[in-house]
Amino acid sequence: MSLFQFASPARFYPLAGRLVSVFGWLAAVLCLVGLYIGFVVAPTDFQQGEAYRIIFIHVPAAWMAMLIYLVMAAWSAAALIWNTRLSAQMAEALAPTGAMFAFVALWSGAFWGRPTWGTYWVWDARLTSTLILLFLYLGFMALKAAIDDPRKADRAASLLAIVGAINVPIIYFSVRWWNTLHQGASVTPGSSKMASAMLSGMLVMSLAAWAYAIAVSLHRVRSLMLERESGSEWVSQVLKAERA
């Protein structure tokens, strides 16, 4: 059995349906555990007080916004190279969730910045490049919606996604390359400057965000398949089976 057989929407649709509930429940449980650690177990920060607890949504949202964009660019590249329907649909399904996480990262960052930096917004490299990431997501979705021919829309949006991927390393390394108001990375592979309770709460919330993004994207791609493939035989069979 080859993994490539799941590149066919007819095969992927039922598999995605099963995975949606698994990852949806996983996200809910991990979110509850993460919030419990973040609000009950983790101590108050001696410098920032309670405001630091924004970290439990800000960092996972920022990480997911960057990761989802890279995954979206990879699916877009696959769509251009192999011309597979599923690849373009997966890229399209990821974009709204990535945009949501980018928006939450910017919003929570602004509300964390006000009590700690004294301002909601500064045009420093980290914040500006994250705002560009949000605009890239919005541009991707707008481009898809603006072109009537789905194949042309897929190609144009795929190109935008691939070109825009250059922004992700810029976001990540911006705090090293430029002198920014935003702090440097507190967590790097193999080392952390955070207390273990704070770190574990943040990591559990990040896992919850992963599971949520997978569940929501798979749910959305199923709708996209119904939209694009309606009228085909396999969709009729699926609808009959769901009604039975």
């Binding site: 011309n83 597979t84 509300f111 929501v216 035989e233 609808l239």
Partner: protein
Amino acid sequence: MSAHAFYLWASYGMFALAIAVELFLLRRRRALARQHALLLSQESPAPAARVTANQAPSQDQRVSSTLERTP
């Protein structure tokens, strides 16, 4: 908590709202897509399944498929 409560809850509140809006839109899109697909399947009981592999259909295939469904 009181000094920073506004900033903390404004962040978590927007996070919850963003997720609620996304889930609502997701359910609505799914319902509309299902409804649309159901209508099409009722209109054409035996549609021509021209594209069964994982390759995207060409523009010609889309046009001919649409024409076939047109009464």
